[in-house]
Symmetry: C2
Subunit: 351 residues, 2 copies
């Protein structure tokens, strides 16, 4: 019998955090690509555009004028998917027709006053102010809402409609689907094994090493064993931390630094401003924040779509939408490629 | 208190088939779109291109020459994600690092000898031969494999790399993730309520009517109450049918006819060759095919990405990837728009 090699032989892997399987078919990278190629990036974003509603001094859709901010800037999304006062749909009349009330707020957070930078091009102290702003908004909205979802859609490919560096924060009166899954999995793991799932997972990955991308005094970045997107990563604190506001000043500085390194590697991979969606997951907040959430470990997921080059992405379509996620290189191969890349940004190092 | 209106007030809805929630925020359609616009379609696909490996008489990557087929044509995918003989990764050494063997086959099915047609432009008898081919391949591969996933990726936006009308068939030694979810939900519903979930659901939708798109003697098409994609639909037989091969000749003819109508409406919506991924789900097959699968009802899901026009799609990114699916118009609004559209194709009717 042939010996199993993950890079040659398809197999399925289990995601214990989100209770899902992925099909790993690494031999598929040999397939030539004749499908859609993404439009190349518009290279020239002006540093300041008075008509861009995210810029300092600009007027937004609701008539408000932005301050001349010089760090981060948080404001209410003018077209929010969640509003604080929606009435309830009332009781369901049939088990197959269940609707429930959803309330919340949607905010936008600018990372920097300039439109022509991205996180990896910002300085570590500038990124540190973003980390602090993430912690504060979690605290502020978490006082009322059980879930505060911070996420960044970067790049037009990820539906981002404004090049100004920013993220979004959607706080909701309900625990969203994926939060519920992670809650169930982490709770079950803790009760079965007596420690938090992601603490044990980080610990094991530090021993195994083959999926590590970056390590620092307080943080780890790795391609999870069950990654779905080609260059997906998981960013984890080494210490048991449930939510962003609990991070110490040293952990925040170190987070800013490791984020800069990771995002620099991402940009260097295909020498492009690497698109992704990323977001933070921590223990639920709101009125139940005081309950025991020790099974939770704070983490960020990075989901980048590119597969082969700056313009060739992975399509999560047919089989993936109807049956199961499928990936075309192993997580170990992805981690190795990311590990090898320089920590100096290709736009900055070539002088 | 304000009265609840689904088209004005965001709320969450439950998908009992796949055990997931969706956030419905219909007021968000008011938001102007400044993000990525898809490239317009290449209009001219030649009817026959000897270099296109899907065409009759063409030579494929492995050197095989296609027959001069004149109906459907089924062959092995030259770059399969699943191969019949992959060795097993062996036992897992840790509960967080679980991998399992995956075996299977991947086939490609051409719908028609011409590259410049799509299903809605084919005749009902031609579509009927596709239905028969789907039933046969389910029977053939289902003899060995527990899951036979038939799916069509249509359009470059859906990762389809060849304009020739075709679908794929991936049969696997394992029950894929989404099949497992549907299995669990349908089994639980049957044991609690004494009838198949989708039989009861179709029955209710026929009474409520507001989400129906098309009905025929043997079939229903509706926008499910829990639809995620803007114009997602569910295609259901009226009779309790577990798998494609069980369809009677009359049901097959009627399926061909209702598919033509649905896909014509889709093309008419934005006057474009409407992209989507679609696929069939039926009771598991393989060695357990003889067990009791009466809780299963055969169905097809259509997942089309377009939201606002032929070039503006819904991006399922940040919040959707990290928290929960979100939609920008209600399923009832989508159903109404689809219902109103003519059943004559915009390319055929304008003479
Ligand atoms: O097999 P194809 O058509 O080359 O590939 C397409 O469909 C597959 C199955 O949904 C996906 O895994 C690929 O990402 C997509 O590009
Ligand atoms: O809010 P934005 O940036 O306009 O919109 C973007 O992110 C949202 C949250 O992930 C998505 O629902 C939209 O489809 C996407 O285009």
């Amino acid at each position: 019998a042939t010996a199993f090699r993950a890079s040659e032989h398809q197999h399925i892997r289990y995601n214990p955090l989100q209770d899902e399987w992925v099909l790993v078919s690494a031999h598929r990278m040999k397939r030539p690509w004749q499908g859609q190629v993404e439009p190349p990036l518009l290279k020239t974003v002006p540093r300041h555009d008075p008509h861009n509603p995210l810029c300092p001094g600009a007027t937004r859709a609701n008539g408000e004028v932005n301050p001349y901010y010089d760090g981060t800037f948080l404001f209410d999304n003018d077209f929010p998917a969640l509003q604080p006062d929606a009435p309830s749909p009332g009781p369901s009349d049939h088990p197959l027709f269940q609707a429930e009330a959803a309330r919340g707020v949607c905010k936008v957070m600018c990372f920097h006053p300039w439109s022509d930078v991205t996180l990896p091009l910002m300085s570590v102290p500038e990124i540190r102010t973003v980390v602090d702003a993430w912690a504060s908004v979690t605290e502020e909205l978490g006082a009322q809402y059980p879930w505060v979802q911070i996420f960044e859609n970067k790049g037009a490919m990820m539906g981002c409609s404004n090049p100004h560096p920013h993220c979004q924060v959607w706080a909701s009166s309900f625990l969203p689907d994926i939060a519920q899954r992670e809650e169930r999995s982490q709770r079950a793991y803790q009760s079965q094994h007596g420690e938090p799932l992601l603490m044990e997972y980080g610990h094991e990955e530090l021993l195994r090493r083959e999926r590590l991308v970056l390590t620092s005094e307080h943080w780890l970045v790795l391609v999870p064993f069950w990654a779905v997107w080609p260059f997906q990563t998981l960013l984890l604190p080494r210490r048991h931390v449930r939510r962003l506001p609990e991070l110490t000043p040293a952990e925040r500085d170190d987070l800013a630094s490791i984020m800069k390194k990771l995002l620099t590697k991402y940009d260097n991979l295909f020498e492009t401003s690497f698109p992704y969606s990323m977001g933070w997951h921590g223990a639920p907040t709101g009125s139940e924040a005081g309950a025991n959430w020790d099974h939770w470990q704070l983490h960020a997921h990075y989901y980048p779509p590119l597969l082969r080059s700056a313009t060739i992405r992975k399509f999560m379509v047919g089989y993936e939408m109807l049956a199961q996620a499928q990936r075309d290189l192993t997580p170990e191969q992805a981690a190795e490629r990311l590990r090898m890349l320089p920590e100096v940004h290709y736009c900055l190092g070539q002088k």
